[in-house]
Symmetry: C2
Amino acid sequence: MPGVRPVFYVSDGTGITAETIGHSLLTQFTQTRFVTERYSFVDSVERAAEIAPKIRAAAEEYGVRAVVINSCVDSVVSSALAESGALMLDVFAPFIEPLERELGEARERRIGQAHGLVNFETYHRRINAMNFALTHDDGAATDYAGADVILVAVSRAGKTPTCVYLALHYGIRAANYPLTEEDLEHDRLPPRLRPWRNKLFGLTIDPVRLQQIRQERRPNSRYAQFDTCKREVAAAEMMFRGEGIPTLSTTHTSIEEIASKVLTTLGIHREMF
Amino acid sequence: MPGVRPVFYVSDGTGITAETIGHSLLTQFTQTRFVTERYSFVDSVERAAEIAPKIRAAAEEYGVRAVVINSCVDSVVSSALAESGALMLDVFAPFIEPLERELGEARERRIGQAHGLVNFETYHRRINAMNFALTHDDGAATDYAGADVILVAVSRAGKTPTCVYLALHYGIRAANYPLTEEDLEHDRLPPRLRPWRNKLFGLTIDPVRLQQIRQERRPNSRYAQFDTCKREVAAAEMMFRGEGIPTLSTTHTSIEEIASKVLTTLGIHREMF
């Protein structure tokens, strides 16, 4: 029976940085079960003083010290949180001093900067990429001249979430093209994809898994039969191989990982939002 | 003229954790201009040894030491990267020892766990939330019984990206409803929204900004005229106030921050993906 440990993500902004690094740290500890809570926009001592007793109460409830993963830039706020008695992990503290020394400048303690500031130009790029992903989803529009990437796969292999993720987080204009039964009768790329060979990335998936996903969507349809899934996946994989299209299996791959591999493989460099 | 500093995000997985914390750190240094590059899936000494000379070359090009923000869990890989002579910032190292001591267990050094593992149940929740967001985008479907959140706003105020973000990162079933001119002729909520009052969240926006966004989308239309924008925004704000709908201006707010405030305001707690 693993121990249970309460963990609090506390931030003066959205808390995304604290939760991202916290989640990465906690996944490295497999013997403990973590119950997590998030407090965002904790930007005053008063707010911190409201939260500290809640953290203390959780520690009492579980009978163990709580862990606070904290990204508040104001040390007075952090001190008020520390009144809870929790193990305080400040996600910025260890890196600030070496960076200040290396860069020869002092950091500016502005609150919630990372995910709070809006630069209109990058906002536009992001929103336009999102609109592109939605209008070019599932082969709806096939004017691919403006696309950075075109994901190609059979239905339900993970194209849409990957395209949306690429748009939201990298400002990438990602279209996706569903291989139809007709497309799969030929070994060659569908004609409308041929001019864009260097933008293509194929997704594939274990037919057993595909069958589960399709079954949930359209129970007991021919579409969801295992034989259909197996035949479609085999035909798509043969097409990708024959045409030299880079391919990734999404069966055990998260959306983040698929997106990251698409960018690495196609040699696209964009900063993350 | 600010100094330019090359920064490398290096990871044995997607690099999302390294880039997220790195971005948060770098925004605190405003006197330096950073040029960044990402190396994902660096999971062997051989791969690290290929990259180290590129880091060294960038340092020579810019005439300053490079910074490496590193989330590789294998210290042999990190050592190979350190051959580059860069300032090495290991995003996990400072927190592992205090966590091991507190939890009474040693971490497991598995590679790329945070954004690599796929749990089918959470994957399903995420994908289903995404499908929900897309089918309930822009008032397309209005069966709101299954919605966790319904964002309400005039056209182009930021509803769609926020819904997609909520779906992707929190598995939230977020619908959005565009206030039409007809809706805005009345001070009261449109009838189809009234049963779902506790799921509603209003977005508003500076009419000047809205005009810019609409102008880009449909140049010189009535829809994009400043008067139209001003009138629609004022009517929407009056409706939100009169009906007691919580509201946020998206003018200077990032997608992450809007999403985070929606969750905080409506009291929805979900772990991030």
